[in-house]
Amino acid sequence: MNSGKHSKGTRPLITLLSLGLVVLGIGCVSWAAFSIWSQSDEQLNKAAAASAPTVEATAAPAPVSAPATPAPEPVFYATRPKSGDKIGTLSIPALDRSLPLLEGTTNKVLDRGVGHYSGSVLPGEVDNCVVSGHRDTVFRRLNKLKIGDKVIVKTSAGTFTYAVSRKRIVHADDKTVIVPTDHAVLTLTTCYPFNYVGSAPDRYIVSADLVTGE
C-alpha cells in the first residue's frame, strides 16, 4: 500500500524526468547538427571568400620559383598575425575545399577554419609552415589526398602552390613533425582515426613542398 502511494506520487516526476531527458537529447543533437552544418564545405567556402586577410604583406606578392616577379621586403609579412587573425585561404582542389586560414590553433580558432601553428613560419616562407584542422570538419577527407595533389594557399603576400609529397600517421605526442626544414614545406595535421569517438590518440600528417609562388 505504501509502495502504491509512493508510486502515484512519483509518476509526475518520472514523466518530467523522461521529458527532460528527451528535450536535453534533442538539444544536444540540434547543437551538434548545427555545429556540423556550420563547418560544412558550403559554409566554410563562404567564410573563406567572405573576409579579406587581416595580416599585412610587406609589399607586392612574393616570388618563389620565379624570382623575376615582385617580392616583399624584408620578409613576406610586415607583421606577425595575432591569434584569430585571418591569414588567407587554403584550397585543396582534389577535395573541392576552400577553407579560411587563421592564426593559432586554439579550439575557438579551429572552429572557424584551418589554424596556423604560431610556432612555425607563415605560408610561402622558407621552412616548415604547419596548419591544423578538425578531422571531422575542415580536414575530414584529408586521407583522400594523393601524392602530387595540389594545396594552394592564398595570403596577402601571394598565392603559394604546394604539392603533396608525403603522408603518414604519428602518435599525438610525436615531436618530429613540427621541426624546421631547409625548404618551404606546408604540413597539414589533423586527429586520427577520423571516425574515432572521443580524443583521438594519433595524428594524420600530410606534407607538401612549395612548387610555385606568385
Partner: protein
C-alpha cells in the same frame, strides 16, 4: 612683475631642454626601421637613363630571390644585354619602371632624412660598425680594405650610410657581415655617384642620385639603383636576395589537438533521447 615676465621664457627653455635631454637618449637608442623599397625591390638594376653591360673576360650574372628585373626610366637605353645572364623582366621606360623610380625616390628620401646619425671618418676600411645611421665628416664615403657590419645577433638590424657627395670603394675592398647582419637591411644613400672597385665585394641597396659604375669582377649582394643617370657593369655578379625569415619553425613543437566535441555530443544526445523515451514507456508502472 617684470622680473617674473622675464623669467617665464627662461623657465620654459629650461623645461624644454630638460625634456629634450630626457627624450634624446630614447630616440638615439631606438632601433632604426628598415627602409621600404616598394616596387623598386624587384629590380637588381634600375637606372634613370642608361644601363650598359660591357664584357671583359666574362659576362655579368644576375640572381636573387627578391627580383632580377632590370629597368630604365625615364630613359630607355639598355646596351650589352648579350653580356649578361639571369636578367628577369626588362622594363624600359614603361609604367613598371616609372613606378619603381618613384618608389626609389621615396626610399632615397626616407634614408636621407633618417636621424639620429653618427659622424664617422670618410674612410670606412678597417672599421666595425653596429646598426645605425652614419654620415662622414666631409660627406663623401670611401672604402679601402674591409668594413665589418655587426648586427649583434639581431637579424633585423638596419645600417644606413648617407653620403653628401660620392661613394668610392677600392679594388678588392670587402664588406663583411657578422652576427646576423643581412644585406637586405643595409642602405646606401649617395647624393652624387658611386663607383665600386674591381674585384670588390659590396653589400646593400645602393641608391645613387646620379650614376653607378661597377668595375670588373665585382660582387654585389644587393641592388644597384641610380635615380637620374646610368648604371655600368663589366663582368660583375649581382645577388638581389630577400631577407631570410626571422621566425624559424619551433623544433619539436607539440601537435595541436584537433578533436571536436560535435560527434560526441551527437551520440550523447541520441542516448539521452533513447533513455528519455524508455523512461516514458515505463512510467505507467508507477501508477
Amino acid at each position: 612683475m617684470n622680473t617674473l615676465k622675464k623669467c617665464r621664457p627662461l623657465s620654459l627653455m629650461v623645461a624644454l631642454m630638460f625634456t629634450a635631454m630626457m627624450l634624446l637618449p630614447a630616440v638615439s637608442l631606438a632601433a632604426q626601421p628598415t627602409v621600404g623599397m616598394g616596387t623598386a625591390r624587384n629590380f637588381a638594376i634600375l637606372a634613370g637613363q642608361t644601363v650598359t653591360v660591357d664584357v671583359e673576360a666574362g659576362i655579368t650574372t644576375i640572381s636573387g630571390t627578391a627580383g632580377r628585373d632590370l629597368g630604365v626610366s625615364p630613359g630607355s637605353a639598355f646596351t650589352g644585354g648579350e653580356n649578361a645572364t639571369g636578367i628577369g623582366a626588362l622594363h624600359l621606360a614603361d609604367a613598371v619602371a616609372l613606378q619603381a623610380q618613384k618608389d626609389l625616390g621615396t626610399a632615397y628620401d626616407d634614408a636621407a632624412l633618417r636621424i639620429p646619425f653618427t659622424t664617422i671618418p670618410v674612410e670606412l676600411g678597417g672599421t666595425t660598425l653596429k646598426a645605425g645611421v652614419y654620415v662622414t665628416e666631409t660627406g663623401a664615403l670611401e672604402l679601402t680594405g674591409e668594413l665589418t657590419l655587426d648586427a649583434e645577433g639581431d637579424p633585423d638590424a638596419v645600417f644606413i650610410f648617407k653620403s653628401a657627395s660620392s661613394l668610392v670603394t677600392a679594388s678588392g675592398s670587402n664588406i663583411r657581415l657578422i652576427n646576423g647582419a643581412q644585406p637586405c637591411h643595409v642602405f646606401w644613400q649617395v647624393t652624387s655617384s658611386a663607383t665600386l672597385g674591381a674585384g670588390s665585394h659590396f653589400v646593400g641597396h645602393l641608391m645613387a642620385l646620379t650614376s653607378i659604375e661597377v668595375l670588373a669582377g665585382a660582387t654585389i649582394d644587393g641592388q644597384l639603383l641610380a635615380r637620374n643617370g646610368s648604371v655600368t657593369l663589366i663582368n660583375d655578379t649581382i645577388n638581389n636576395n630577400r631577407c631570410e625569415s626571422t621566425t624559424p619553425t619551433t623544433s619539436g613543437g607539440e601537435l595541436p589537438k584537433t578533436a571536436t566535441p560535435f560527434y560526441d555530443v551527437l551520440v550523447l544526445g541520441v542516448a539521452l533521447m533513447l533513455v528519455g523515451a524508455g523512461v516514458w514507456s515505463i512510467r505507467k508502472r508507477f501508477e
